[in-house]
Amino acid sequence: MTATIEIDSVGRRYGSTWALREASFTLGPGVTGLLGPNGAGKTTLLRVLATALPPTTGTVSLLGHDPAVPAQQTGIRRQLGYLPQELGFPRGFTAFEFVDYVAVLKEWTQPDARHEEVARVLDAVGLTHSAAKRIRALSGGQRRRLGLAQALIGSPRILVLDEPTTGLDPEQRATLRAVLAEVAREAVVVLSTHQTEDLAALCERVILLDGGRVNYDGTVVDFVGQAAGRVWLATEPDPRARASWRTGTGLYRNIAEQAPPGAELVEPSLEDAYLLLRGAAPIQAATR
Amino acid sequence: MTITEVYLDPVATRPVARLAALARFEMRRYVRHPMFPLGIGLLALGCYYLVLRDPLTDPGGLFGVPAFFLGVFGVAIGFRLTHSTRGADEVLDVAPASPQLRTGALCLAALVPFALGALTLAAILIFLRPAGPWAYGMLGPSDRFAMLAGEVAAVALGGPLLGIAVARWVRFAWALPLLVVLASVWVILVNGVAATYPHSFAAELLRLLTPDTYFLTLDQQPRQMETLPGSPWFFLGWQLCLCALAVTVALLRDAAPQRRRPLHVTLAAVGLAAVAMYLLAATGGLGHTVVTRPDGTVIPL
């Protein structure tokens, strides 16, 4: 059965505040990126998909099962991996012991098979040589990779990752992309990130969240295409631009609904499309 | 005003102004801690039962209530407030406000429970109805005030300071229940030993080697009040020296090298003062236990 995530009119309220409203989409195998400003509802949506949080409204179907039914929820969790935005670790554990601990909780009860699986996922994230190190001795990037390792246990069919690239250097991010690309052959991978270049390199699909609502849901190519013809370079910032900043070449990169006639148009990036679609107040760099 | 201008402004950059601003912040945090209103409520209830409902026959037994709900609760609040910022240490340690300034502000927050203790003391003095003159044993008006001030106000100040001092040096959260129990048990222990060996000077010295102690003990069979040896006034001085020691120990943690020497000197000076107060408390006041009875009989033990 093909791995799928289906949500319909899902909303989540905290007190009187709606963190997520009317979110609907269907995801299949592949990598989908969640984009949006802080407070847009990305983490809330990811927690709903990870079965960590019930929706206030709407329906969720993961791998064809309803997570609101306890028995089905357990079935889903057997095939789910989750990396939260912030992850604490038990004191005194080594990297290997921590992943081993999570593996036990994921019902890997046979020690030999479990240790083999733990070694596999640690190798996948490049932590084989740090397996015996205490977690407190690991760097921030290594801890993030350790968090990813535990999510990969059992080759999950749904992988939910909240800002997995935080703290990773470019080489580590490249490794992560390779790992996720392999996983996404058969699994549904949903990740949130502020690194638009990671999203561009890794994701086939992007969902833009803003104010708890889905503002855009489509391919990355189409998303970037929204900004075609609307990004140009100039010697001065354009006051009518939605966003404008000085680049490393000394020229100003401007983004607006319409480029002025004769402007030197450039190929838009995913970040340009994001800024254009965000609808926020104009972002202007101070003029020199 | 830009941040640079703030730090160049002679008024804003005065350490006293920064300390005052931080202290106000910490006082608000103290008041908002859930244990504070809980302690006030339980203190009011306890004082109602002990002070207002019946004529007080056991002023010595009074001390358990304010000492616990202001002092012991204060230990817990001071400890948890100090620990609560540990997660942000990396950011706070490079802020212009030094760890000592932040610790000083936390210590000033102890003035909140101290003020409450002072109010409680005033209320007790106004509304207390002793069962008779014998209820205060051999303590005159001045000594009674010193005893109550020590049991109510000084403990309210010292509890949070103890919690802050320990939390500055000890990183693990489970130290708090251990601290609460050890502090309480120590008080019970030393008083118990003194009661078991009433004629022992060593036991007497031990009885006063504590942040809080009894000077009056009510016996029911026969009904009489025992006034224990020692000077309540010098014991109050000892308690205040302990408060100063706690503040100094808290400030010593992570002190910059140039500040260590003055703090060590202060620690030594306060320590000497504490020893002096302790010895004066032990050798002052009554030299031995004296029993007073409702019929006016006075019996030295």
Binding site: L80, Y82, F89, P90 | V181
Partner: protein
């Protein structure tokens, strides 16, 4: 679940807190035994019990709760595995009870056992009840229980009515009554809170 995986789950218990507080209980209890009830009453032994409760409260701390709570292993199994850690404070309490009974053979061993068990289960129950909302309930639960149990023998209005350690026959009756009630309430709390977490989705 085989024994080995349970041991792996036990590894995640906050052992420094459990062992440290149990050692503190042993120390305070030893002082109470050494001095005997004539000097200090039952207060040191009652407060030693409070530290056993505090130790039990720390057994449920889970720093990795965001991922642990969405694994297929149910809260019932996870709680059961962590309950093995209670053997440490219970063992220490049992040794203390033996020491107390040896010093004072008139004290009922049953009453001592009830007090030890009641303290330990009370701490565990407080942690289980708050685990749903707090990933690491040990600190707040231990503080609340310790403060409450220490207050009881110290504060006259309560101390006259509530004895938390067996001594004279009236004290033993009071202790047995309170700790039997506490044990029953704790077991109910543990069962309800754990099974609620297991039975309700997203719990």
């Amino acid at each position: 679940m085989t024994a080995w995986p349970a041991l792996v789950l036990l590894r995640a218990v906050t052992w420094p807190a459990v062992l440290g507080l149990t050692a503190g209980a042993a120390l305070v209890g030893a002082v109470g035994v050494a001095l005997g009830p004539a000097s200090t009453g039952s207060a040191p032994l009652a407060t030693a019990g409070a530290l056993l409760a505090a130790a039990a409260a720390f057994t449920m701390d889970e720093p990795s709760a965001p991922i642990v709570d969405i694994t297929p292993t149910s809260p019932v199994r996870r709680t059961a595995a962590r309950a093995y850690a209670l053997s440490i404070p219970i063992l220490a309490g049992a040794l203390l009870a033996i020491a107390v009974h040896t010093r004072d053979p008139a004290l009922s061993p049953t009453a001592l056992a009830v007090a030890v068990l009641g303290n330990t289960l009370l701490g565990f129950a407080a942690a289980c009840a708050t685990r749903r909302r707090l990933a690491q309930p040990g600190g707040p639960a231990a503080t609340a229980i310790t403060v409450t149990l220490v207050a009881a023998p110290l504060l006259n209005p309560i101390a006259r009515r509530v004895q938390l350690f067996p001594g004279s026959p009236p004290a033993t009756l009071s202790s047995n009554t309170w700790w039997t009630l506490a044990t029953a309430s704790s077991l109910l709390t543990i069962a309800v809170s754990t099974y609620v977490r297991a039975g309700k989705p997203y719990a």
